[in-house]
Symmetry: C2
């Protein structure tokens, strides 16, 4: 476990760029004072922001870059134009070169994944990388993957994700043997597509020491926290994630409207304002911000492009935890313990 | 438009059977007094319940059945054992025989779909039936399909669903030209799997008179009500639906807990009790209960198995509306206007 955690930051990513990234890093460093940052971006913008943050004193090295990947660049275009020189590429390269333990970017997801694959390479034994997030549940949090790295899946890919997601859950939740569920349209054996049915059969058979296969889970098990790790294909996972975010917003709208409709409701809202504040904090998506790229030869964290400094800090926290508790080694060890899965 | 609407009911379906089905029918009939019911089930149980409901007086014919499909029967098993004699089969058969304009069952979804396909047959021009639901949004409601009839899709199937979902939206929302979106992981043209990309290309090209193709929508557009009809593959649609239901429950749990934690919050909740009641009613899944089977030669509605009488009544309302406004004719007309879609 490295005592110091060195995090490289793409300062130019996201809707707000350095004005969010630098204060976000400062907030995270207050929680983890052993962190240092290597910040890639336009020095003329970044340096004054860093100088204005006493919490970052002595903990930052700025590397000037002149090219930034745009939020709407196609991944292929971003790679062609930004390879080797963009702030995003250089933040990833720092991980490859051993100058940083993890990279964080709020930039274009597709570009970040494409560059990470080219620069860091996929881990031996992993077919395709995945993006994992922390999903808030009534019991705490679960790891959910894939929420958008890939489209389409097969049984082996689902099992790889079960292994990688469990490695992340062991670190984040400090669990010896996290429980793993496959997201499906029902819990009976015959339900679902071929990929989940085959993956379920294999997971029941192999019975690994590092996680416990629970069985199928459904969409409503996500918020319940039925299992520690939920595995699904990226198309469905991304839609489930955004559906949950949308539903939370929708209910927030209903609640605000209900609480302002009558005088009595307004008085009630006044008495309950502390309670509403706690609720708002609980439902704040910034708290759980950060997608962990799993399956690469290095740690890369994606922050939401629209997050504020608090949200970016949550993504930096995640990078810190993954690096400090050596996610890479945990995944490698778990992969070594997984028998080769020949398709039936 | 038929003046009288005749609905056949499977009294033995769902977790509560006739004790929910009969009062549910009574509640719906109060709203639509022109409705009559043909109820299939155990006469010894059904008859006293009907006799106890003044709102059903003179509007019910009971047909005794001795076999009920179990909630956990496999569809193939249910068909083998229940064909021709179960209350579920007979309710569907009544539609086929012209004795009823629509059938409603709270029974086993897989069995209900399998029996409906065998008994009623799939419509000419439709590859596979779908299940559509009404999704509550901040703007009202949207039609969302498929929420669980099929697994996997292709471009033609998605376009069939766009046509059928629009027919349903025309009736339920009384719209001339509903807007239709394809559920995807992003709104850019290059996003998604081959099926949605190809369907999008075709929908942009054909430009039908009866609905307006909006483009891709994402998971968070569901609660926003961005479009009147959201089309997706059944695996993803089912998971999105259950994820939204789960998220709503989760937030309800947070809210209850926040409102009971301190004295001040409790006082606030007391003042706001009317507002909370309105909110609870708004979030009540029973209000939007009922899955419409689209693409069959007849109208079949699935009620949630765990619904109470109010929920079952909502499903009966849906059956009433679909029959009264002639869903079958609307779908047929719209299919006739859709050029044959040869894959590119």
């Amino acid at each position: 476990m490295p005592q110091r955690v060195r995090i490289s930051l793409d300062a130019m990513g996201g809707d707000h760029g350095p004005s969010t990234v630098v204060p976000g890093a400062a907030i995270a460093r207050e929680r983890h004072p052993e962190t240092t940052f290597l910040i890639f971006g336009d020095e003329a913008v970044v340096a004054p922001l860093v100088a204005a943050e006493p919490r970052l004193k002595g903990a930052v090295e700025i590397r000037h870059t002149t090219y930034a990947v745009a939020m709407d660049d196609k991944p292929s275009q971003a790679v062609r134009q930004g390879r080797g020189k963009s702030s995003m590429w250089k933040a990833i390269q720092a991980v490859k070169d051993g100058e940083a333990d993890a990279a964080v970017s709020a930039g274009n997801t597709g570009a970040l994944m494409a560059m990470s694959k080219i620069c860091l390479k996929t881990m031996a034994g992993i077919e395709r990388p995945a993006i994992a997030c922390l999903w808030p549940t009534v019991r705490g949090e679960s790891v959910v993957l894939d929420v958008g790295a890939t489209i389409g899946t097969d049984a082996e890919h689902l099992i790889e994700m079960a292994v990688m997601g469990s490695a992340m859950a062991r670190i984040v939740f400090d669990l010896e043997r996290p429980t793993v569920g496959l997201l499906n349209v029902g819990t009976e054996e015959m339900k679902g597509n071929e990929a989940v049915k085959e993956a379920a059969r294999l997971l029941r058979e192999i019975d690994l020491p590092n996680f416990a296969y629970h069985g199928f889970v459904e969409g409503n098990d996500l918020g319940r926290g039925t299992v520690d790790v939920v595995v699904t294909e990226g198309f469905t996972g991304n839609i489930a994630l955004k559906t949950a975010e949308g539903t939370a917003k929708q209910i927030g709208t209903y609640l605000r409207s209900a609480m302002t409709r009558t005088l009595s409701a307004k008085i009630g809202a006044l008495f309950a304002r502390q309670a509403f504040r706690a609720l708002r904090e609980k439902m704040n998506p910034s708290r759980a911000n950060g997608g962990v790229f799993l399956g690469l030869e290095g740690i890369v964290i994606k922050s939401h492009g629209s997050e504020n400094a608090q949200g970016f800090a949550a993504a930096v926290d995640l990078a810190h935890d993954m690096a400090r508790h050596d996610l890479m080694r945990t995944i490698r060890e778990m992969l070594d313990q997984t028998p080769t899965l020949a398709p039936a």
